[in-house]
Symmetry: C2
């Protein structure tokens, strides 16, 4: 049994809390938020507090707070030499106060308030400064049935950057397609199976192998027709830049 | 029972053939390809031919060939006033010879040779010149358990363009993330659940509502750090352009 004190009340904290509660191997001793209102609905479920001085002794203190808050909150914790991990993709492990045994427990997923997630599908990236803590964090992740990856700070920050490409930027391309099709009264639903299939394909095939379409074929006629259809200058610029990128990847000029 | 003669031997034709064979309501009378070798393995399964003069009488002639081949092939068909449909997202319905009853039967999906598709999830976009043919093509689609959408040429070409954004361009962003993470010896598998979740989210939520991340939040510190991490000039340009696009969509400057 691993005992955890969870700190923070945002999307990541809420998803972690629910996943922890479902595990028979994890005991959420306490949930801290400086705004007690945000977690008061859980008062019958676990010990909640907004006082750092009330924090109990636990195996792990997990900081699921915004990047900017990590440093100060870790400094204010009224104890030392205990295992304290943050959950950020981009904050340094050294943002944690050095009086602690410092670590990172980063679940790589996009956490929305409303989206229902299968937590066991989320990869957990782990970084530690004291080697024995690796095992404890791996056990915490495996109690959630998650795969774990041991990665260093530079790798984690690169992953966070890669996640912006495959999540935020990809989603913006969905948005652009939504705008383009809306302008011609086309139901966006028609594109949804293709969106899903495109994501499914790279689960078992490299993106390089999965590529198709006019840019890869260097089909100049279609590319020209598409550019003519695009009325928005920014959409046009995106089309041109990503077409050039595909051509470069696949050796066209 | 709808009788079909299928023409073409590419990915779309092969996937259509397999789906037709599974339907109790569709009879594939004949499969034509000018290169008989490509379909000869199906000789025990259906009538195959490479002679246009041998084509049998059918309810529908389906041209699943490249855009450039549609016009000539439809001209060479040795009959007139029968229902002839092409399967292209971008070719005009008028590319078909006017001696036929012309139509379009466009399955909006990315067809790879190796990918296993659930055909019933593919939306079929239908266009006809003679109204009564709409019903026949809708019946063909519903025999495959597909949803159908009646769309005109301009809408279909816009859909084809939108598909480039959500399929080819999205896949290229996967590729860029693969390059970025590979350079730091990061296992691309870590990003796969996020890729899938990003596509799943917009199945029930608009891309606008689904957006998160530094560009939407206008988190200048993170954006600056990301740009510094990017070594490739084209990757940098993609980051800047899509960040600007997200900011514009979400009213940031």
């Amino acid at each position: 049994m691993i005992s955890v004190v969870l700190l923070g009340a945002g999307n990541v904290a809420s998803h972690l809390y629910r996943a922890f509660k479902e595990s028979a191997n994890i005991d959420v001793l306490q949930w801290y938020s400086r705004s007690i209102d945000k977690i008061s609905s859980y008062a019958n479920d676990t010990h909640i507090t907004d006082h750092l001085n009330d924090l109990k002794q636990a195996d792990i203190y997990l900081l699921a707070v915004s990047d900017d808050a990590i440093s100060k909150l870790s400094e204010k914790l009224p104890f030392d030499n205990r295992l304290v991990a943050h959950c950020s993709g981009s904050a340094s492990i050294h943002d944690l106060d050095k009086k602690h045994q410092r670590a990172v427990f980063y679940p790589l997923q996009s956490f929305s308030k409303d989206a229902d997630l299968t937590f066991s599908e989320i990869p957990i990236c782990i970084e530690v400064l004291e080697k024995p803590n690796l095992k404890i964090l791996q056990e915490l992740a495996s109690s959630l049935h998650c795969k774990t990856y041991k990665i260093n700070t530079e790798q984690r920050q690169t992953l966070h950057l890669s996640a912006v490409f495959v999540n935020n930027f990809v989603n913006q391309l969905y948005r652009v397609a939504h705008e383009i099709s809306d302008a011609k009264s086309i139901n966006f639903d028609i594109l949804k199976p293709l969106i899903l299939e495109t994501a499914r394909k790279v689960q078992y095939m490299s993106p390089y192998m999965a590529q198709t379409g006019p840019a890869k074929r260097n089909d100049k006629k279609t590319i020209k027709r598409h550019l003519k259809l695009l009325e928005n200058e920014q959409h046009k610029a995106i089309y041109e830049l990503l077409t050039a990128s595909i051509k470069k990847t696949h050796g066209q000029r």
